[in-house]
């Protein structure tokens, strides 16, 4: 594999799974040209005259969709760790004797571990999407055939739109649908709130199969995915486990140390003057970035401040803010719990959005540029504020990028995490995998204090004289290494197993195979 050095000095491939790839040329340096990809022109002549697209089962739908070896099949992840459709889908593909398929999920979860057998047997050639848990280990141990391609939510939608990824068949779980294929996620026992991650897939895939366990009479109200994109509708008993829609990363932390960090974040946002009437923020998934919103809400109440809008991943905490009048609107990319699902059905100011709209870099602007502040996690950050969110310090893939990279375009980006996790330091000389360039990361908050990027003199000025525990990353690193010792650089091979894309589709870094344990 040909590797070159990109603008941030990272070794990246120039070709990914047979297609040329552009090495990252620097933030905002890549300017694409040409036209967006276009789906084929269908004709109503090919669809049932009575509008009823229901077919017998998923296998029939796949056959009718012309599934064959080597195709790219996509699914969405709104059911998070409760998804069962992807497993069913590839079991059917295996049964049909298909090979070398590419799975293109909007994200993968530990529940998808059973797909390893289909990777081993050759039914699935490789996965282009977040790789974590057992699938992450599978990839980083070098067992997957193609290269993993890690994209942010925005870059995934964009790759569909600009033609980098052509979806042959999209198989979309829908908590409610009518026989024409109109679908939403607010009704039915698998209601998951929104279907934004499926939007690009519905619009651009050659064939779209909607799978529902809740067939409703036409019209399915509200219509989130329009039936005009849909080829077939499949009705079956179950499409996922609604109880597992709330996955571990969406619960508020109970660790006193992490709550302390969350409170520091909220204090920073208040004291830096970001918390003011009409401001906007995003709370990510993960203990600390959820918990800070609870502290912030309290501070907003005390100061009589009301937000203009909040971007989710939505949880009951954000719903409470909306219902208590602490924000005018909730703009929601995904529902993290059942309160969020309920709210989007009943609150007019709680609206769904899609990465295609909020995060897409090949677009006429992004919602995220309007955002005043985001709070994100990270597994590592170096002294220049470059950060890693996908790999553990030992090189194993641990998390998907999610919306993390997209959120770096907010006006103030805060990374919040413990400086040490069981002796493993977070502040390092060089990040294992670069996911976010330091020039876009403004503040790092740990239990040891708050480090402000020297590029942001305005923020440093804004918090002067406040009682915040300001420190440099160097000081935090020294403090951690005093007690824990300086870590050795972990071993890795020179074989690339996955590529990390930047929000514009260029290649930011590579994930390398890790050596087998002796």
């Amino acid at each position: 594999m040909n590797l070159v050095t990109n603008a941030l000095g990272r070794m990246v491939p120039t070709e990914i799974n047979g297609r040329p790839a552009v090495p990252f040329p620097g933030v905002d340096r890549f300017r694409p040209s040409g036209c967006k990809a276009a789906p084929r022109i269908p004709t109503v002549l090919d669809y049932p005259r009575d509008g009823n697209k229901v077919v017998k089962d998923l296998k029939t739908a796949l056959e009718l969709a012309g599934v064959r070896n080597g195709m790219t099949i996509s699914t969405h992840h709104h059911f998070r760790d409760g998804d069962t459709l992807a497993l069913q889908l590839f079991d059917i593909c295996a049964e049909m004797g298909l090979r070398d398929l590419v799975w293109f999920p909007s994200a993968a979860f530990p529940c998808h571990a059973p797909l390893i057998k289909h990777l081993d047997s050759g039914v699935i050639h490789h996965i282009e999407g977040s790789l974590n848990g057992p699938l992450g280990d599978y990839c980083t141990s070098g067992r997957m055939r193609g290269l993993g391609v890690l994209r942010s939510h925005g870059a995934r939608a964009m790759a569909v739109q600009d033609g980098e990824v052509h979806i042959d068949i999209a198989v979309l779980a829908a908590p409610s649908a009518d026989c024409f294929g109109n679908a939403n996620a607010v009704n039915g026992n698998a209601a998951c709130g929104v279907l934004g991650y499926a939007l690009a897939d519905a619009m651009y895939a050659d064939r779209v199969i909607v799978v529902t366990n809740n067939l409703v009479p036409f019209p399915c109200i509200p219509i989130e995915i329009s039936g005009s994109y849909v080829d077939y509708v499949v009705v079956q008993d179950s499409i996922g486990d609604p109880k597992k829609i709330v996955s571990g990363t969406t619960e508020i932390t109970r660790s006193p140390d992490r709550l302390y960090i969350a409170e520091l974040v909220a204090r920073f946002i208040r004291d830096a003057g970001i918390m003011r009437n009409g401001f906007s923020f995003q709370a990510g998934a993960g203990g600390i970035s959820l918990a800070f919103a609870v502290y912030l809400a309290q501070m907003m109440k005390e100061a009589g401040v009301k937000a203009g809008w909040v971007h989710g991943g939505t949880t009951k905490f954000l719903v409470r803010m909306l219902e208590e009048g602490l924000t005018d609107a909730l703009v929601d990319g995904q529902a993290f719990d059942l309160d969020a699902v309920r709210s989007i059905a009943v609150n007019r100011s709680h609206i769904g959005t899609a990465p295609l709209i909020s995060y897409n870099h090949h677009s006429k602007g992004n919602f995220i540029n309007l955002m005043d502040v985001v709070v994100l996690g990270a597994t590592e950050v170096d002294l220049n504020f470059n950060a890693n969110v996908v790999t553990h310090s030992d090189g194993r893939l641990l998390h998907g990028i999610g919306g993390w990279q997209n959120c770096l375009y907010a006006k103030c980006v805060i990374l919040a995490m413990p400086a040490v996790r069981d002796r493993i330091p977070v502040i390092v000389d060089e990040v294992t995998t670069l996911c976010g360039p330091g020039e876009m990361i403004d503040v790092v908050v740990t239990e040891l204090g708050i480090a402000i990027n020297p590029r942001r003199q305005d923020l440093i000025e804004a918090v002067k004289g406040k009682s915040l525990p300001l420190k440099s990353l160097e000081e935090m690193k020294a403090e951690v290494e005093r007690l824990g010792g300086k870590p050795k650089r972990p071993e890795r091979t020179s074989r690339v197993v996955a590529a990390v894309k930047w929000v514009d589709g260029t290649v930011l870094d590579s994930v390398f195979q890790i050596p087998e344990k002796q």
């Binding site: 006193p256 140390d257 709550l259 302390y260 310090s393 030992d394 090189g395 040490v420 996790r421 069981d422 002796r423 493993i424 239990e447 040891l448 403090e479 005093r482 007690l483 824990g484 010792g485 870590p487 050795k488 650089r489 972990p490 071993e491």
Partner: protein, 407 residues
Amino acid sequence: MNRRGVAGRRGEGIRSDAYIAVELRDGGGIELAVKSRVDFIYGDSIRALVFAGLSFFGIQNAWVEVEDSGAMPFVLMARLETAVRRALGKDYKDVAEWLPEPGPSFALPSVRERWRRSRLYLPGNEPKFMLNARIHEPDGVILDLEDSVPPEDKDAALVLVRNALIAVDFAACERMVRINPLPRGREELEPLIRAGVNVVVVPKCEDDAEIKKLAAEVVAIEKRVGVRHQVWLMPIIETAAGVFRAYEIARSSERIAALTYGLEDYIADIGAQKTRDGWEALWLRSVVVNAARSAGVQPIDTVYADVADLEGLKFSCLQAKALGFEGKGCIHPRQVRVVNEAFTPDDEEIAHAMEIVKADMAARAKGKSVAVIGSKMIDPPVVRRARRTLELAVALGRLSPDWNKEG
């Protein structure tokens, strides 16, 4: 000789600790097996640490197993030392101490009159709670060797607490250790004093002569090991017999800085029942306050057991403050702020105290012996209390030290 010694814990849910087993052998050199969550970055460092430790203890032939869950080096050192002690079957004093590098708060002195609004209890054999205790800003941390440590781990906890006192950054927190009841507690003094402990908390005190003896030993150890700062004592009254001697105990030594009590043991001792309003403790609490005040030491309230009930904690703090206590124990970090806030003078208290002290100074300037605000006479004890409130406010940064010069 045991030949085999084991220390520390392993398994699901264990964090920041390490299990170490040492089996002494007659030959064959050192055989070491390390399993660690952080092997990829600290594996070499763990192996080097074990070899250094074995060489320190003069062990040339042994089989050593380490199962590490992200333990800091001071913890690994403590576990190895304990495993070796146990394998050798020797008492604490018969084996050399293997000490970690001192951290930034090592041996910071503490003064007798300092503020002790909150003290956070940390189980002495649980490393993970020690590391970040300082960030919750209790006035003191209290590493516990007594009730939170099962009998079979008393030796392990002593070594771990000693290393933590030396290596962990406790920042400005006063470093307290609750020793075991005497006589065992007496054996624990020297290693703790060497490690720079500020306050030795003595449980189940009933006998002032014992405390007097203990204080003399503390002074003797200080001299012997060359500690520059003074070590203070905080006796705990937790029996009916103790209550009756509280006054004698409180004044038994000038090393006593504070007096507190333990409720659970006391209630069991007198056969009382717990009430929400705390009636069963009223007499005990009043005795402790009066004994402490009469001896010129700080009366400190006990802990509040329900960590989820912060409202109840606040009520208990205000009750304690009204009775005359100056602080309270915490068993969870989330309690610290509530306790600190309750025992910190608020704006109204500060303003009122300033008014009194200013009136007093104005009266003195005019040669009058008693100050008057409006038509009310201000007695000297009221002035004393007001001054103490202002000292506290200044010490906590709630009031400028120059408050009196700003008009």
